[in-house]
């Protein structure tokens, strides 16, 4: 990955080139941020940003990772105090000492990281800190009833007596939203709310957003998904590197315009040119009748050198679990061949020795030691190279310097904990870690989840570089565009089984969705059929 791929020269696309930003509408604003700045230590991450939010609007905040979106939201939500500037609520300047004071003023935040207590029930979570009382005791019955009603308005049927730990991520997200709505809310701040939601749940969320705005609630909406913003937002404020680029009416912008303003240059060339797989490329990895109990059943597929094999499917289709089973993170049955040799991987270390690396979809929970340094995180999977037998810190530092350069990790100092990096940079660090093991088969699970457009593009080009070198890549992704742009073939899974493998011109949204939802289903039993590769695409 070259640092220049998202160069700073591109900055000459100015904001005023096609239209003028809207003047502030202070007279009708419900909430205003005036000259908000925020510094962490000596580093200012937000520079004098103005924003105004009108009742009943969906105001999107758009920007790359590290552009300051989450910081802006946290200032408004009372999680940080701004180092300069002012928050004005209905004409009155306010200083929130903490999020509780902001909530009391009607500003409620839905967090990027879920803030539910795993071991409390749904109902207990929704009313945590705002319990209904009766005769001095918590009125559980009233709370349950209210929670059921709330969830019904969200068109979600979740047993309110279940513990949050037992819920799926998307269910937990709906509970989080219900919790926010249960407060007397005037400004609802949502930080990437649809990242973990399925298509249907996103629809329900949008419906709810429309209902709330009809009641005069203002929504501050942070997302990376441009088409989503186009659908739901009324106005959009774009941030870049902590500066405000401008606030625009959504009707005046196409998604491409938004991306251009956000990145500071054209992003039409998001994907590298696809090279066809060599005709004589050997099969690197093949699965025959692989079953991961409870998640995936009788999966047969193969992957050739220099090929990107996309894996599509809805949330819960068993894609992650299948490949976790393959590399030995979960129990599995069936046969796996690496380079034509039957292998029995019982632990990721076995797979690593055979040159297979897996990038987890859960960057924060399973990818990084957030409180440990970048160096420790980078070398964790390949530590045997840096310890014979004693760990060679100097060699590790050199590897870190190299990785930061090669993967363009944007970090001011190398001695910060991994948790201090922005999402995109964290992802580059985990990617650098798995590449340090020198794999020739790389399984990438949602490699661009929750990261900005510029970093996504870097990762796409990196994948292209890998396959050009003959590495085989499995790309599990919920972003169809990504599969369309990169994959040579796409395996579609539904409910634990492979419903189809699409190649060539069949790689389009309609076909993939038809297989993913089970509308179409091929009987894929003969392995020979699966090895047909359409390299022409």
């Amino acid at each position: 990955m070259k640092p220049n791929e998202r160069s700073r020269e591109g900055r000459d696309v100015t904001d005023a080139d096609t239209m003028t930003p809207q003047p502030p509408t202070s007279s009708q604003a419900l909430l205003q941020g005036r000259g908000l700045s925020m510094a962490f230590g000596p580093v200012e991450v937000l520079h004098a940003v103005d924003i105004d939010v009108i009742p009943g609007e969906v105001h999107a905040v758009l920007g790359e990772n590290g552009a300051g979106k989450s910081t802006l939201l946290k200032l408004i939500g009372g999680f940080h105090a701004p180092t300069a500037g002012q928050i004005v609520m209905a004409g009155t300047p306010r200083t929130f000492r903490d999020s509780i004071e902001a909530e009391a003023a009607g500003i409620v935040m839905i967090h990027q990281e879920l803030s539910l207590v795993p071991d409390l029930t749904v109902e207990e979570n929704v009313f945590l800190g705002h319990e209904h009382h009766r005769f001095g005791f918590v009125d559980t019955r009233a709370q349950r009833r209210a929670t059921r009603e709330l969830l019904a308005t969200l068109k979600t049927s979740i047993d309110v007596t279940r513990r949050v730990r037992q819920l799926s991520v998307s269910q937990a997200q709906m509970v989080e939203i219900a919790k926010a709505v249960s407060r007397d809310v005037r400004v609802l701040c949502m930080d990437e709310p649809t990242d973990v939601l399925t298509g249907r749940e996103t629809e329900v969320l949008f419906e709810l957003v429309r209902r709330l705005t009809a009641d005069g609630v203002a929504i501050l909406y942070v997302s990376h998904k441009l088409d989503e913003i186009k659908t739901i937002a009324d106005r959009v404020t774009i941030l870049r590197d902590g500066d405000k680029v401008g606030t625009f009416d959504i009707a005046d912008l196409t998604p491409a315009d938004m991306a251009r303003r956000m990145v500071g240059r054209d992003v039409s060339d998001m994907y590298p040119e696809r090279q066809s797989v060599a005709d004589d490329a050997s099969v690197a990895l093949s699965l025959e009748g692989v079953t991961v109990p409870g998640y995936a059943e009788d999966v047969t597929l193969s992957l050739r050198r220099g090929e990107v094999l996309g894996v599509a499917g809805l949330v819960g289709a068993g894609r992650t679990e299948l490949f976790e089973g393959v590399i030995g993170l979960r129990p599995k049955q069936g046969e796996v061949h690496k380079d034509g040799r039957a292998v029995r991987w019982r632990h990721p270390e076995d797979a690593k020795r055979d040159g297979v690396a897996y990038l987890t979809e859960d960057r924060k929970g399973k990818g990084l030691l957030l409180t440990k340094g970048l160096r420790e995180n980078l070398t964790l999977a390949a530590l045997e190279r840096f310890a014979r037998p004693f760990t060679d810190v100097r060699k590790e530092r050199a590897a870190l310097t190299d990785a930061v350069r090669e993967f363009d990790v944007r970090v001011a100092r190398l001695d910060v904990p991994a948790g201090a990096l922005s999402g995109g940079n964290q992802q580059k660090l985990v990617l650098a870690r798995i590449m340090l093991t020198d794999p020739d088969v790389v399984i990438l699970d949602e490699p661009t989840r929750g990261i900005d457009v510029g970093t996504k593009r870097q990762i796409y080009f990196y994948v292209a570089e890998l396959v050009a070198k003959g590495t085989a890549v499995v790309l599990i992704s919920s972003e169809l565009q990504e599969l369309l742009g990169l994959a040579h073939r796409v395996v579609v899974m539904q409910d634990g089984t492979v419903t189809g493998i699409v190649t060539g011109d069949d790689i389009n949204e309609e076909t993939i969705m038809a297989y993913a939802t089970g509308l179409r289903r091929d009987t894929v039993s003969t392995p020979n059929r699966l090895e047909v590769v359409d390299g022409a695409r």
């Binding site: 993170l329 964790l380 045997e384 004693f390």
Partner: protein, 335 residues
């Protein structure tokens, strides 16, 4: 002195600010105790007294070095005190049986030492395997083995005391009471165990993995670390450390009973925590544990030298110091 005065103020201030005070808390506590002690009694800083303190801290200290690995990996071992009693009882019984067979006392001691090391290793491996293979909380498993080892030693001693054969004792005694190059042997052993432990924890893959597992087990597993194996090994190290402590303990009294090593587990955990290791795992260092163990025995020593506080309040003072130590270090890991 004059040099310091002339130096530009901001420089030393900056340097002072860069010192990781929170990490040095255990060391500052130790210095504080030494100052108090030397003010209380002129003999406090004498070589004899200090070696006496160090010798007495060796048992807990050696066990606590093993405990540091267990705790950093996110585990806990409550069984070490009973394990020590059981190993001591078994070792003495074995040596007594061998002595009845007309064997040379030195051979008997060597056989006893070998047996106790193997037994400690096995006892630790048993703890570790039940915890990792059986997927049971370390607290529960070691609470169980605490009871098992304790009742086994009581059973072996038939409710009384197991005493070591006198001929063997004569050969074995110097291991605790003698000195080498002017330094008592237990102090040597403590130092060697601590240095080996520090190298293992801070300079090897194993040590890095221990810290990674304690920090986030899932991350370690996904980074292809053999989590179960590493965690089991921390308990094996703990068992071997207990065995080493027993090898030093048996020649001291020459006996073991059902009340041997009572509450050692809590003292060892206290030494680890005073030393700055996080009880929830992920972070810690051996030198802190060594300082923690020395501090615990210094407290008793200081209280012996003064009449201001009754030595019966030893436990209360230790308790306060543990809480104070953790209080002073709480800032590091953030909120």
């Amino acid at each position: 002195m004059a040099r310091v005065e002339r130096a530009p103020r901001p420089v030393w201030r900056e340097q002072l600010a860069r010192v990781p005070w929170q990490q040095l808390t255990p060391l500052l506590g130790l210095v504080f105790l030494l100052v108090i002690g030397s003010m209380l009694h002129p003999a406090f800083l004498s070589q004899t007294n200090l070696f006496n303190v160090l010798t007495r801290s060796a048992f807990i200290g050696i066990i606590a070095v093993g405990g540091t690995f267990v705790i950093i990996a996110g585990g806990i071992d409550l069984s070490v005190g009973s394990m020590a009693a059981f190993l001591a009882g078994a070792m003495i019984l074995l040596m007594n049986v061998l002595a009845g067979n007309d064997m040379a006392p030195l051979t008997i001691v060597l056989l006893g030492v070998g047996m106790v090391l193997v037994a400690g290793l096995l006892a630790g491996a048993a703890n570790g395997l039940v915890i990792t293979r059986g997927r049971i909380e370390a607290f529960i498993v070691t609470l169980g083995t605490l009871g098992i080892f304790r009742s086994l030693v009581t059973y072996l001693a038939d409710g009384g005391t197991i005493s070591l054969n006198f001929q063997v004792r004569a050969v074995y005694r110097p291991v605790f009471f003698d000195s080498f190059l002017g330094i008592p042997i237990p102090v040597w052993v403590f130092a060697i165990v601590a240095i080996l432990g520090a190298i293992l924890l801070h300079r090897t893959r194993f040590g890095r993995y221990v810290r990674a597992i304690g920090s986030n087990q899932e991350v370690a597993r996904y980074a292809s670390v053999r989590v179960e194996r590493i965690r089991t090994l921390t308990y094996v190290i703990q068992g071997v450390c207990v065995a080493i402590a027993v090898i030093l303990y048996v020649p001291r009294l020459g006996s073991a009973s059902g009340s041997t090593g009572i509450l050692w587990e809590l003292e060892a955990i206290a030494a680890v925590i005073i030393g700055g290791t996080a009880l929830k795992g992920g972070y810690g260092h051996i030198w802190g544990t060594v300082v923690g163990a020395i501090m615990l025995s210094l407290i008793g020593n200081v209280l012996n030298l003064t009449t201001a506080i009754s030595e019966y309040l030893n436990g209360a003072v230790q308790g306060l110091i543990i809480i104070a130590a953790v209080f002073l270090q709480r800032g590091r890991s953030g909120r």
